[in-house]
């Protein structure tokens, strides 16, 4: 589904000094996989995640999505892919504070360019019920707990029925019990719904949920 071929990401600091965030990365993520990317901070795992999530483009090398080179896509096409193909889950949840839970979940659908085969509002309400957030539909994010906020973020990622969910330190801002709940939820989505999951973390026990663990250090994959 996603293939990295000799991917480099190089930042120019102060115009002169080069910083190699990713060095010659080769990796493939197949459909319905559950992959953990683990590495200490500064290892380049966030950069890797941004590349997988189509938020960024590589300096060198190719990223192929279903065989198509990402570099050839326009900004609008990349936006469409992010909208339809990927669902993001962030460490700080990143819900929009002035939108209600329901509106936050619906947000990706207002940017949708394809005709949805379902009624988004009905689907959002179904998801809310299914994921134990009933009664919170019209609450604002600051009125619900961290675990609930992260569940809302996961529902926002699910609403467009993506093939891939990309979770960046999804448990980083949660207590361990809630963190386990969230990870089990992701695991269930992978097993029951067949959604590809990529989790980026620095914690080994979180990474352990993955069926495959990619270890990254100093911009290089040290174990796959």
């Amino acid at each position: 589904m996603i293939k990295f071929k000799n991917v480099w990401k190089i930042y120019k600091l102060d115009g002169e000094i080069e910083y190699q965030a990713l060095k010659n990365i080769n990796l493939e993520i197949k459909e319905k996989e559950f992959v953990s990317i683990i590495g200490p901070s500064g290892s380049g795992k966030s950069t890797l995640m941004h590349l997988i999530g189509l938020l960024d483009k590589p300096t060198k090398g190719e990223i192929l999505i279903d065989g198509k080179n990402v570099a050839k896509f326009s900004d609008d096409e990349l936006s469409t892919l992010r909208n339809e193909f990927v669902g993001f889950v962030f460490q700080q949840f990143n819900l929009i504070p002035k939108l209600t839970v329901l509106e936050n979940i619906l947000l990706p659908t207002i940017y949708a360019r394809k005709k949805l085969t379902y009624d988004p509002r009905k689907k959002a309400l179904d998801l809310i019920k299914k994921f134990g957030l009933s009664g919170k539909e019209y609450s604002y994010p600051n009125k619900i707990s961290g675990g609930q906020q992260q569940r809302v973020a996961i529902l926002r990622a699910l609403i467009m029925e993506p093939k891939l969910i990309l979770a960046d330190e999804p448990t980083g801002n949660l207590d361990s019990k809630t963190g386990i709940e969230i990870m089990n939820l992701l695991k269930k989505l992978n097993e029951k719904e067949g959604i590809t999951i990529v989790v980026v973390t620095h914690e080994a026990d979180i990474a352990a949920y993955g069926k495959r663990i990619i270890k990254i250090k100093d911009g290089e994959i040290v174990r796959n």
């Binding site: 966030s46 941004h50 938020l55 936006s79 992010r82 207002i110 949708a112 988004p120």
Partner: protein, 401 residues
């Protein structure tokens, strides 16, 4: 859900949470719209008032004044000052013309009128009995002076209602009372109905006194007139009458020494003067709209930088550059329209208050203009901040803390 409604709802929720900031931001537009609408309302009221005043002049009236005051519908101030004065020879000349029915020779004097108790600065207009008819005066109490008063050089005055109240306490008390001006005693024989006016609205006739011109020669030994108001026979066209008078006066004066004016000429001249004045004022007031727009632009730049993370999140879940651009333009436009709407409301209240003292009207076009201009400002001044927001790199925006 409709994208537009979604964005508008989010923007309004945002503003609801930052009421003070929102209000202060739209204050510039508020003041600008208020000033523009208010000035336009006053300009319209003034125009209406002047037109009403001229409508009261009646038909078949023309004026003969010294100098070339009006040329091509605009006002020529210099030649109005340096000019001849009319005298009895001119009056006789006019009286001989068959086209003319009534002539009111006019001159005036600034003076201090004294009753037994009080004194007031005023203007006496010396004229004939035709003056009242030509100018559309109505009597409230007593009578106007007549031909007999003119022949007798009677020391009588008709006074305006405001002056009557100031000098005598009431209109009733004024009638048949004595009033003196420059140590000459006059009897008040009549009080006119109020004609409004004063300030910008023409002569303040309610505070004037009117007396026979023959009586006025006490103060005007040269027996000159500053103008003639003429009512002509309706069987003649205004063009013919003007031509006849012109021919007659050219025997004595050169062409630049006098003007024959129809009320329509004065009206269009006055309208053009006030039109220009009003345009200048509105243009000055419009500057505050621009300043208001810059205020909005400034706040929008702050908002964009405050919302960098949000922009990143929106981009991550599929928003295109265009979507972000539209979102911020809508936000600035709402801010601006909000200011415009509040300014309009304030101007409406202001107009209601002003109407108690002075005519003022808000017409549909100024409402449309105010809201149109404020939304245009929102869009124009919103574009730059919105462009900055849209051009943020998704990865930079999402990393932003």
């Amino acid at each position: 859900m409709n994208y537009f409604l979604f964005v508008v709802k989010a923007a309004i929720e945002d503003f609801r949470r930052n009421k003070t900031q929102t209000f202060l931001t739209s204050l510039g537009i508020l003041i600008g719209v208020f000033a523009v609408v208010m000035l336009t309302a006053l300009g319209l009221g003034l125009k209406q008032y002047i037109n009403d005043q001229f409508a009261a002049l009646g038909k078949n009236t023309i004026f003969l004044v010294p100098g070339k005051i009006l040329s091509g519908g605009s006002f020529n101030a210099t030649s109005a000052l340096a000019s001849i004065k009319f005298d009895n020879r001119d009056l006789l000349r006019l009286k001989r013309l068959k086209e003319i029915r009534e002539i009111s020779p006019i001159f005036s004097k600034q003076t201090t009128a004294k009753s037994e108790k009080k004194s007031e600065d005023t203007t006496i207009i010396f004229s004939s009995e035709a003056f009242f008819d030509i100018n559309g005066f109505k009597i409230k109490k007593g009578r106007f002076f007549e031909k007999a008063d003119i022949d007798k050089k009677a020391k009588v005055v008709v006074i305006g209602p405001k002056l009557a109240e100031k000098l005598f306490g009431s209109v009733e008390a004024a009638l048949d009372s004595k009033v003196s001006a420059n140590n000459i005693n006059f009897i008040v024989i009549g009080i006119t109905e109020s004609k409004g006016g004063g300030g910008f609205g023409g002569p303040d006739y309610d505070n004037y006194m009117f007396s026979p011109y023959t009586t006025g020669f006490i103060f005007n030994t040269a027996k000159t007139y500053s103008r003639f108001a003429i009512k002509f026979d309706e069987n003649y066209s205004i063009m013919d009458v003007k031509e006849t008078i012109k021919k007659e006066f050219l025997k004595r004066y050169d062409e630049d020494s006098f003007s024959i004016i129809e009320p329509g000429d004065i009206l269009s001249a006055v309208n053009s003067i006030f039109g220009i004045l009003n345009m200048v004022l509105v243009a000055i007031a419009s500057i505050s709209l621009v300043v208001g727009g810059i205020g909005i632009m400034n706040i929008m730049f702050v908002t964009v930088s405050d919302k960098t993370k949000e922009i990143g999140v929106r981009r991550a879940i599929g928003a295109r550059k265009k979507d972000i651009l539209v979102q911020f333009i809508i936000e600035s436009t709402i801010l601006s329209i909000l200011g415009g709407f509040l300014g309009l409301t304030l101007a409406y209240i202001g107009t209601l208050i002003v109407q108690k003292f002075f005519p003022a009207y808000i017409d549909v076009s100024s409402v449309v203009l105010a809201l149109g201009v404020s939304s245009a400002i929102g869009i124009i001044f919103g574009v730059f901040p919105a462009k900055r927001a849209a051009d943020l790199e998704p990865v930079e925006a999402i990393r932003y803390e």
